[in-house]
Every structure is written in C-alpha cells, then in structure tokens.
C-alpha cells in the first residue's frame, strides 16, 4: 500500500490534467492519421463541444446548419491529419480548422448579409440599427453578438472571445490589420448600442 501511495503521489504531482489531455490527444491523432477511425471517434467525442461552440459563435445558432459545419470540420480534420506535424496542440489545430470551416460558410452564403460586402454596412449600423433602433436594452450579450454583421462579428468573436491577435485575424480573413482593428472598434460600438450602454 505504501508503494501504491507513492506512485499515486508521484503521478498526481508530476502530471497536470491539461498535459495528460494533450498527450492523449496527440496519441489519438497519430493513430487516426494512420486510418484508425476508432481513435478519431475519440477525438470527436473529446472536442465536439469546443468545435461546435466556436462554429455557432461565428455563424450563429442555426440548428442543423451549424451541426453540418461541425460535421464538415471533423471530416476535414480526418483528411488533413496525416499532414499534421504536431507543432501545435491538437485542440488548437482543430479550433483553427473549425474557424476556417465556419468562415468559408460565411463567405459562400447567398442569402442574408454578405460576408464580403458588409464593410460599409457596419458604418450604417453604427449608432442605431434598423431592427431595434438602438433600444434593445434587454438584449442579452449572446444574442447581440449574433445580430452583428458577419464580418464584424467574425472579428469580434475571434479577438474578444477566442483570443486571437489582429495579425492572425487579418491573415485568416484576408484583410489588412488596420481593417481588423476598425471592424473590432465598430463591432464593440454596435454591441454597446444594442445592449443599451450597459456593457
């Protein structure tokens, strides 16, 4: 029992949960990269919540469509795994892949606000939007984010929620760093307006 206690103590103090999770992810990813679908299912089970979460934040909670994109992101991950070099954590790689998948969807949309055409529309929505005229005092933050124009929402979500840097956002969205900063400024302004200045 003494030996067991010593082993337990050593394992507990020498290994943190995130480290173990990253090791397990890497082991599973290596197997999946070799065609092991069972290992890949484990990756799906471990990361579906994070992947689906960021997709919903970027495209909005549109039920089945967001789930379609989550499914698409994992299929792309399966296809790309053999080329993954493990220079970043598997979770980080999956997160970026999810973002890319969601942004491709936003760019290809044929209805609603167009992702590549709302640069000027943001200015028009700066003070009072057509739907709420800036009076939606009780609108909760999540709903307010969802009502932002696609490009402004993408910048805000990536910077303020996901923690990306402007350089990373600009590269992913194919825009200048200054445009990313401007979009963030306007997105925050819109949010405050829609939240009634309570944020």
């Amino acid at each position: 029992m003494f030996m067991l206690t010593a082993v337990m103590s050593e394992l507990t103090h020498d290994t943190t949960i995130p480290e173990v999770a990253a090791e397990t992810d890497a082991a599973l990813a290596k197997s999946a990269a070799g065609g092991d679908a069972i290992a890949f299912e484990a990756i799906y089970r471990r990361h579906a919540g994070r992947v689906h979460g960021v997709i919903v934040r970027l495209v909005g909670a549109q039920g089945v469509r967001a789930e379609d994109l989550t499914q698409e992101a994992f299929v792309r991950a399966w296809q790309a795994l053999p080329k993954f070099r493990f220079e970043s954590a598997v979770s980080t790689w999956l997160h970026r892949l999810a973002v890319t998948t969601a942004l491709m969807e936003l760019r290809s949309r044929r209805s609603g606000p167009r992702f590549d055409e709302d640069e000027n529309a943001v200015d028009g929505l700066g003070v009072a939007d057509s739907a709420g005229n800036g009076t939606a005092l009780s609108m909760d933050l999540e709903r307010a984010v969802a009502t932002l124009p696609p490009r402004a929402r993408a910048v805000l979500v990536l910077h303020d929620i996901e923690g990306w840097k402007h350089e990373e956002i600009a590269n992913e969205l194919n825009m200048a760093v200054g445009s990313s900063k401007a979009q963030l400024h306007r997105a925050r302004q819109l949010l405050r307006t829609r939240l009634g200045g309570e944020a």
Binding site: M3, G34, Y44, R45, H52, R192
Partner: protein, 162 residues
Amino acid sequence: MSNEQNDALRWQLQGLRRELQPENDLWPGIAARLAQAPQSASEQPKRISAHRFIPWAMAASVLLVIGMVWQVMPGSTQNNPQTSPLVLQQAVAMTFDYENALARMQETEAHPEVKQAFGELDRSAAQILTAIDRDPHAVFLLEQLRRTYARRLQLTQRVTMT
C-alpha cells in the same frame, strides 16, 4: 469608448467562450463520410511499417475506450458506490490487452536506454491494477491508470518515431 468600458465588455465577451455540444450525435454521419473521404498522403519522410503501427493503433484504441469508460461513469472524480465492478473489470481487461500490445512493440523496437522507463511505468500500472482488484469501486484509480498509460504512449511514440 473608454478603456474601462472596453475592458468590461471584453470581460463579458470572454464569458461566452464555452463548449456547446451539438444537439444531435454527429458521429454516425461523420463515420459514414470518412469511408468516402480519403486521407491526404503523409508528409513524414519515414513510413512506419505495419508491424510497428498495429500495436500502436491498438494501444490508442484501448486508451480511448478506457477514457470513454471514465467519462461516462457517473461521479468519476470520487468513489461511487453505484459504480458497477463489471465496468472496472472490463477496463482492467482492456488495459492488459494494451500492455500486451505495447510489450510486443517494446520487445522488438524499444531502445535499451528507455527500457528502464518502460519498466517503471509497467510496475506503476501493475500496482494500480492490483489496487483496482482490491477496490473495484475506486474510480479514481482508473484515472491514475489512464495517466500512466498516457505517459507510456508518449514515451513509446518517441521511441517508435525516432
């Protein structure tokens, strides 16, 4: 907008970063598509031979099953009198399969310098398994076992990839 206002808004926005599980289980649909979605060619210069890959894949599969058993077990962070000993016995049986798979790989591939580390991890796993035999309701031991095998996988990976 002042810096204080920005900070307050960002603080609230960061609270939106949370996991969101899909309402439906997407795995059946993903699995169906995987069969029709060929993986890209590996960029690794050295191809891993089949006899090295198979036990490695087996090990990872067993690990994930253990991990899934761990995740679905209620009250997994503490002893739970409702836990079925049968579940633990199955997990233990799978870990032995895992050990055997790794042992075969170690026998033919392990570098002498890491054999001692393998041995220490083997002994740790054996001790934890003994403890599980004595107390099949002690779910936390399963987590300890999983951590031990995660280490073993990492070390084995280093050996097989170099």
